[in-house]
């Protein structure tokens, strides 16, 4: 595949396109209005539909023009070196060019931020107020990023020139396929945005073609900058974690099913049942809050487990396909949900059934969980009463320390000891005095609650159960090869029910975030319970390739995107549903293996590639010895 005429042609064409993009793209944006209209610096002049100005434009323009010519030279050299007959020399040259590209990108960034800083500090010195600085929302833009990605791509291309380059890529297919799908989905999303939305500040204007393209390129870049903008602020991180928490639960639940070869698309139903049981225990269970809260968490898991186990049983006992049954049970759950919260009186053929669950008032909602039995906010756990607390850090450190220390013990005891140490650390840390800390109102307004910790525990459970216990091994065997597993003595029926129950339980735990943790602004059942996160869990599981780390990272990714989506709506007037579209496309592309060759998706074909690479390496070794 590499070194052939086709790959050379591909390389030349893509480099030409890149060169054109680099020339037209905005490289840096020194200032931008709130609605997205900006001053764009391109290698061949400044573009601004709203005619924004900046003091000392030559500083900004000079570095961009220089950067462009350096990268243009790099591109030409890369194309030339790609035609070198010796793969090792090819790789060497590409490595060097990629390294230079990275350095130029870094230089570019430094120069830009320095120019911004000098303009703003000059204005400050002249007496401008701190919130009226001339340069706002400044950032590097597409041209600079393209340079960065191009350099990274050169490094990757260099690795691919070396022997077994393809096998290298195939070995990491668990990362390659999701990332490539993410890239494709993003490109598609950019296309949709560029087609549907006018460039900011350019509405109703007719720009010259080149400038119009620059403005559109800026639009798509800014769209994605906004989507990822939560990553640069602490409240943004908290808000992203808030949205990621339920996705971790549902993603883990769906992934657990996948591991056992079961497709659980009943997550919305299991989430609903988890929420109902969580509310029932939280509201109606008498007793002190510290007892009711853990019980309501267990109830959430059990509710989900029940709703998952039923389709599991139907599959084990009658061979009914779990996909259809879980879909059906989603709708049944939604009926049950409405039945509980929409009225207190139902008539059956004239007879009246009275239920106590709906709260007084017009709105369809349940009673609220009393204050003592609610999950506290994460912030009040990390920093109660304006002082940082040592409870959580000490608990984490002690748990990890104990787990690492007792290497000789078996897993169960190690985990038990670690849990005990965690608890002890939490209690002891609570007594230690912590430093005072200031919490901004923006951070305080984020409703991230302690269900985040439950999500972390769920991630560990997933990892330990599936990859460290005999039961988990059997489940995975069932997923890989059901017939072989049965032959080896796995009770398939029982395992199917168990897998669906655990899958449902993990999903049901998401209810702790919504109901016990007040994730829907109130600590009760409401119609606004967003059950569709159950479907988002499928995207999370696929993107995360059913590994705990992958699920956590992809849940975080979607949390960030959903948070950034709010800004997208506010500033550019693009619907937040863009994130749903991206999610859907990612799922679609991953399902299609990223449209990559089969050896990226088929383990058998992947093994063939790796064996071939190994054989050719050995052949070249023996060849050398013979010489």
């Amino acid at each position: 595949m590499f070194g052939t005429t086709f790959s050379r042609l591909l390389f030349v064409v893509s480099n030409t396109v890149l060169l054109g993009l680099l020339a037209l793209a905005p490289w840096t944006v020194p200032k931008r209005d709130f609605d997205g209209a900006a001053l764009l610096v391109t290698p061949f002049g400044m573009v601004s539909p709203r005619a924004l100005q900046v003091p000392g434009p030559e500083h900004f323009l000079g570095s961009v023009t220089l950067g462009f010519w350096v990268f243009a030279l790099l591109v030409v050299l890369a194309v030339v070196s790609f035609f070198h007959p010796n793969p090792r020399r090819r790789a060497q040259m590409l490595y060097i060019l990629g390294g230079i590209g990275l350095a130029v990108f870094a230089l570019e960034a430094v120069l830009f931020y320095q120019a911004v800083y000098s303009v703003n500090s000059a204005a400050l010195a002249a007496g401008t107020e701190a919130n009226r600085l001339p340069l706002k929302r400044y950032a590097l833009s597409l041209g600079a990023y393209l340079g960065l990605f191009y350099s990274l791509a050169l490094l990757l291309a260099a690795r691919l020139q070396l022997p077994a380059g393809l096998a290298f890529l195939v070995r990491y297919r668990g990362v390659v396929v999701p990332l490539f799908s993410l890239l494709l989905a993003s490109l598609f999303g950019m296309l949709v945005v560029a087609l549907l939305t006018p460039a900011p500040g350019a509405k109703g204007l007719t720009l010259p073609l080149g400038n119009a393209i620059t403005a559109k390129l800026d639009l798509v870049t800014y769209t994605f900058q906004l989507l990822f903008s939560p990553l640069v602020s602490l409240p943004g991180w908290f808000q992203s974690l808030l949205l990621a928490t339920p996705l971790i639960f549902t993603g883990l639940g769906v992934a657990f099913g996948f591991r056992a070869g079961l497709f659980n698309i009943g997550a919305p139903g299991q989430l609903t049942l988890g929420a109902i049981s969580c509310m029932l225990v939280g509201v109606y269970m008498p007793g002190p809050g510290w007892l009711v809260l853990p019980l309501s968490i267990v109830a959430a898991a059990l509710g989900g487990a029940l709703w998952g186990a039923i389709p599991g049983w139907l599959k084990a006992r009658f061979g009914a396909h779990e996909v259809i049954n879980t879909i059906m049970m989603n709708y049944i759950a939604s009926s049950v949900f409405l039945f509980i919260i929409s009225s207190n009186e139902y008539k059956f053929f004239g007879a009246t059934l009275r239920l106590p669950f709906k709260a007084e008032g017009f709105e369809a909602r349940s009673a609220e969980i009393p204050e003592g039995a609610r999950l506290p906010f994460l912030l009040s756990t990390l920093a109660p009463q304006g002082h940082l607390s040592w409870a959580v850090p000490l608990a984490v450190v002690l748990a990890l320390g104990v787990y690492a220390f007792f290497r000789r013990l078996d897993l169960g005891r190690r985990l038990l000891l670690a849990a005990a140490a965690c608890l002890a650390g939490f209690v002891a840390g609570g007594f230690l005095p912590g430093p005072p800390v200031e919490i901004s109102p923006a951070l305080r307004s984020v409703r991230l609650n302690d269900s985040f910790f439950i999500a972390v525990v769920a991630l560990f459970f997933y990892n330990f159960y599936l990859f460290r216990t005999a039961g988990g091994y059997e489940l995975r065997a069932l997923g890989f090869a059901p017939k072989a597993a049965e032959y080896a003595g796995v009770n398939i029926g029982r395992k199917t029910i168990l897998a669906m129950a655990i899958s449902g339980a993990l999903v049901g735990l998401a209810a702790t975030h919504y109901v016990a943790g007040g994730g829907i602004d109130e600590y009760r059942l409401k119609q606004s319970l967003p059950v569709s996160v159950g479907f988002d869990g499928i995207a999370v599981a696929l993107m995360g390739q059913n590994t705990p780390t992958g699920v956590a990272l992809s849940a975080l990714l979607f949390g960030v995107l959903l948070t950034g989506g709010l800004q997208l709506n506010l500033q550019l007037g693009i619907s937040r549903e863009l994130v749903t579209v991206l999610q859907a496309l990612i799922v679609l592309f991953i399902a299609a293996g990223g449209f990559l060759p089969r050896y990226f998706t088929d383990p058998l074909k992947a093994a063939e590639v790796e064996t071939e690479a190994k054989a050719s390496r050995e052949a070249s070794h023996t060849g050398k010895e013979a010489c």
Partner: protein, 305 residues
């Protein structure tokens, strides 16, 4: 009782049956060819959005002079748009499932997700509103009280039966869904059969969508199908992948929907529970408590040549 079981109930039943029937018959072709189609819901939504937006765009020039201008061909152009878009979305499902051998459930899930977000992006761009489109003037006409698509739905039952069981094409389709290797051996192009069948299901679901947005209502509303694609899927299983069974199942489920509407605020049964009956019945059938429902043997499996 008589205030519930009257002629109006029959009318509502037929109207709620039509979109289910269209969708389920289309889904039958897809599943009979061996491609699971849980994306019916999404295809309905795409069809509905396409119809409403197309009609709105087309009638806009006419409405400038007369805000109530009725132009006979415009709703039919909307139906055409729904059919084309439904078919195109189905083609994506087919491409990913057949050419790239994707898991068909995953692909279907992706399309359903896309149908939640995609129309919203369009609505925001066209109407600066993420939940609903402009109300249109040129809805589908009523023939003797019913939309033409209602008649079409019921006419499609014998047509589908005849195509599936009395034509060579139908025989090949069933062969491809039961035993693709055997069909391939005797010279049937498995891939082409499956592409055709899946696109056909999208076309039919698009018709159902057009019925919802410009027949039943006069605008597109986000997630307006509200699970009807899944009820159609349930009806398909309940009707054992047979046109007459599908007719019976959709009539029954349409009756439940109508009943749920009529029972609202009544004293007989809580309507929220009645709405769950179709799903419950389908689960019972699938488990074999009420008859046995056997899917086509090769369903869900990508065909490897």
């Amino acid at each position: 009782m008589s205030d519930i079981f009257n002629l109006a109930l029959l009318g509502i039943t037929l109207r709620s049956t039509a979109p289910l029937l269209l969708t389920a018959l289309g889904g039958m072709f897809s599943e009979r060819s061996g491609v699971t189609n849980i994306a019916l819901e999404g295809m309905i939504l795409f069809g509905a959005a396409a119809a409403a937006i197309a009609v709105d765009r087309l009638e806009a020039p006419y409405l400038v002079s007369d805000p109530n201008a009725h132009v006979a061909w415009i709703p039919w152009a909307g139906v055409l748009a729904a059919v084309l878009v439904g078919g195109a979305v189905a083609f994506v499902h087919a491409l990913v499932s057949i050419r790239y051998k994707a898991d068909q459930i995953v692909s279907g899930t992706a399309i359903n997700l896309l149908a939640l977000g995609g129309p919203s992006l369009l609505l925001k761009a066209f109407y600066n509103n993420t939940t609903s489109s402009q109300e249109v003037v040129n809805r589908l006409p009523l023939w003797f009280g019913f939309s033409p698509l209602v008649y079409l739905a019921f006419i499609m039952v014998p047509v589908a039966w005849w195509v599936l069981f009395k034509t060579p094409w139908g025989l090949r389709l069933r062969a491809v869904g039961e035993h693709p290797e055997a069909a391939d051996t005797v010279g049937v192009n498995v891939y082409r059969m499956r592409y055709t069948a899946v696109v056909l299901s999208g076309v039919m679901a698009g018709l159902a969508g057009a019925f919802l947005s410009i027949g039943f209502l006069n605008q597109f509303v986000r997630n307006m199908s509200a699970g009807q694609g899944f009820i159609a899927l349930a009806a398909l299983i309940f009707g054992k992948w047979h046109p007459l069974g599908v007719l019976g199942a959709t009539l029954l489920f349409g009756f439940f929907r109508a009943l749920a509407i009529k029972l609202q605020g009544g004293e007989v049964l809580p309507s929220v529970l009645v709405e769950a009956f179709p799903y419950l019945l389908t689960m019972l059938v699938l488990a074999g408590f009420i008859g046995r429902s056997r899917p086509p043997a090769a369903i869900g499996k990508p065909y490897e040549k």
